[in-house]
Symmetry: C2
Subunit: 142 residues, 2 copies
Amino acid sequence: MLKKRKAKRRSGCPLNASVEMLGDRWSLLIIRDMMVRGSRTYKEFLESDEGIATNILADRLQKLVAHGIVTTEPDSSDGRKLNYLLTAKGIDLAPVLTEMVLWAAAHEDTGNQALVRQMQADKEKFLAGVRRRWAKSHSLRT
Amino acid sequence: MLKKRKAKRRSGCPLNASVEMLGDRWSLLIIRDMMVRGSRTYKEFLESDEGIATNILADRLQKLVAHGIVTTEPDSSDGRKLNYLLTAKGIDLAPVLTEMVLWAAAHEDTGNQALVRQMQADKEKFLAGVRRRWAKSHSLRT
DNA sequence: TATATTCACTTGCTTTTCACAAGTAAGATG
DNA sequence: CATCTTACTTGTGAAAAGCAAGTGAATATA
């Protein structure tokens, strides 16, 4: 399979750059799974409530890796497993996710009120927590 | 045309709700045009750098209205024009857009550095500005 | 007032992406 | 060794995106 060299941007606007990397119905949910649910493997992502299709998941993971948001490393105790981990760039998406969660929680009837209340109570504290958890468990690569 | 009653959510997660409303390659760009470029009409949206197709624009505007993010009102001085305006819910997306812009600006090579620097300098001030501009020029409807 | 132009879309068609079901290969387990 | 698990790939139909052209009402222009 031939991989494209450099998908040219539709515009130079930073929002457009974000949208081109994350603007679909799955990418941010995968990142959420890594960030708040601690998912690491293909199988764990598949088990999420939203029910992503296997081929779409493979495609999105590959794109997230290509964009430098996620890295992979083989699991040391099980040769079949590949661990997907957030890079520093990926962790920096925490504020984006937070604002999206708070917006939906404010304007829609949604579940997961535990997470929402935690974010509402102290956004910065929540973000610090995410960063700390990730800094601890892995050496972050760029 | 029959409109669907209530597109059931894939999950109750607030992030999923956001993604189902905004997770595509155009919706947030339309909101950006309203929020920071002051676009109001179909034609103005079409003129954006990214080059949205006419049928996609019509579809996205309709969905944004359906989600209560945008409202319409006829232009008082030109009967052909329809003005699209952000609702309070739409304006509340300002922090989401801001974080997405700052993230891309930090990790990608993008343009529009003027806007970025303004956001970096004082996020809260920028957000207050957006809110003030919108509160002034229209009565916000829910 | 007739004509051209603008505005906000539709329509039709092709291409791309999504979704579902099934299959496969490498590694682990009993 | 046989079976199971994990991380995918492949095939197919359906849905959505993208492009070009067209429509109809309102407005500007000659």
